[in-house]
């Protein structure tokens, strides 16, 4: 079947199977920043934004996204540049496999609640697992990003 998706502001048509998940359709079409982690919504690595809300693309049927606005990390490049700078400063970078999904989730938090305190940041991001960093440096970086008015 054919679907129309608006990805990062660009409308595109894709030929998909009815049972295909958004993650697979995106990767198949070279949106390689969207990655597979756990297959069952537990890790957050496959996060994309649908209408600015973070969702696990491993469990969203692509067919249900007709005419929805999908954002991958390529769609928020200037925000990523800010966040990545703070990640660098605070030493929050490790393998980075989950960093695009982290950036998307943090960005949607910023849209929802720019004044989030650290507990709210943790609650909002709890679905984004990280096995490398121990989380602490990430939180410091995210707090700086949220406080950055530039």
């Amino acid at each position: 079947m054919k679907i129309n998706l608006k990805i990062n502001g660009q409308s595109r048509q894709f030929l998909i199977e009815p049972n295909e998940y958004l993650l697979d359709v995106l990767r198949r079409n070279d949106y390689l920043s969207v990655r597979r982690g756990c297959d069952n919504t537990s890790c957050g690595v496959c996060t994309v934004l649908i209408d600015n809300k973070p969702v696990p693309s491993c469990s969203v049927l692509a067919a249900r996204c007709e005419n929805k606005e999908i954002t991958t990390v390529e769609g928020i490049e200037t925000e990523v540049e800010k966040l990545a700078k703070y990640f660098g400063e605070l030493g929050a970078d490790q393998c980075g496999y989950c960093n695009p999904s982290m950036a998307l989730t943090v960005y949607s938090l910023k849209l929802e609640n720019r004044n989030a305190n650290i507990e709210e940041v943790k609650e909002y991001l709890v679905g984004n697992l990280c096995r490398c960093t121990g989380y602490v440096a990430q939180h410091e970086a995210i707090m700086k990003y949220l406080g950055d008015e530039s």
């Binding site: 079947m1 049972n19 537990s42 696990p56 469990s59 249900r64 679905g127």
Partner: protein
């Protein structure tokens, strides 16, 4: 998950008819976990076009469309304030924001998941489910049905109450299923639900009746109530916790919960 055909139902009647006429057809609500339990579907029925994604606030009730995401519900101001925000608290403890953005209240109810944190909270609120065919049923009665009805859940109506509430979930990590969850409301009357026992949430009716018959709730009556609950509510062993440990959790958090709602 194999899907032969994907059908976006135009209205509840079409969804209901498809579901009941074709063996091997299923309704997908949020779809968060469907692929974990379903291998193959002939006709996958979607309710996306039924306009069931809404929260309507009326004088005495909140009406929540079945396709409303858990996240939308937990963020709603009326739900955040109702009975100490018990429903919002229960929902917030479920997985991460990403999952709650796709999981719907309808799917969570119809799944009747044993580990559900939501069902306990719904049980202790005064709330009713509205189906296409079955019409109106309480959550308690719905959970008592031997089988999930082949029906389309349209919405849930919750009576607005201003009493206190308590929700507590015990889990290994913040992303884990409950080892046990406890929901309590105190409006005119007490209502208590215990979930993830590991069986599906249920009301502690005798316990509530006892408390409701007391003129004063104090340390003694709470102790007695907890005894009744331990007798009334069956807990058992699964991979997450043993029966004995669940008994301790039940005792501890029921006591603390009751202490909190009578403050």
């Amino acid at each position: 998950m194999e899907v032969k055909e994907l059908i976006r139902a135009k209205d509840a009647l079409e969804a209901y008819t498809l579901l009941n006429e074709f063996k091997g057809s299923k309704v997908m609500a949020g779809g968060a976990w469907m692929k974990l339990s379903v291998k193959s579907v002939d006709k996958l029925i979607l309710l996306d076009d039924l306009n069931l994604d809404y929260i309507k606030e009326e004088n005495e009730f909140l009406e929540i469309g079945a396709m409303t995401s858990l996240r939308t519900i937990e963020m709603h101001p009326a739900i955040k304030s109702m009975n100490s925000g018990i429903l919002a608290k229960a929902i917030k403890s479920i997985m991460g924001v990403q999952v709650r953005n796709i999981a719907t209240i309808g799917g969570s109810v119809m799944g009747r998941f044993a580990f559900s944190d939501l069902l306990g909270a719904l049980l202790v609120l005064d709330c009713r489910l509205y189906f296409h065919d079955l019409q109106e049923i309480t959550v308690f009665d719905f959970l008592q049905m031997p089988k999930v009805p082949s029906d389309i859940l349209l919405n849930i109506k919750i009576k607005k109450t201003a009493g206190k509430g308590y929700f507590h979930k015990v889990s290994k990590t913040h992303l884990d299923f409950s080892l046990l969850n406890i929901a309590i409301t105190k409006n005119e009357l007490f209502r208590i639900a215990i979930g993830s026992r590991p069986q599906t949430a249920t009301l502690a009716i005798n316990t509530a009746n006892f408390l409701n018959s007391q003129s004063e709730i104090n340390e003694e009556t709470i102790k007695k109530a907890v005894e009744i609950a331990c007798d009334e509510i069956k807990v058992s062993t699964n991979l997450r916790a043993s029966k004995e440990y669940r008994e301790v959790l039940l005792k501890t958090y029921l006591t603390r919960g009751l202490e909190e709602v009578i403050k």
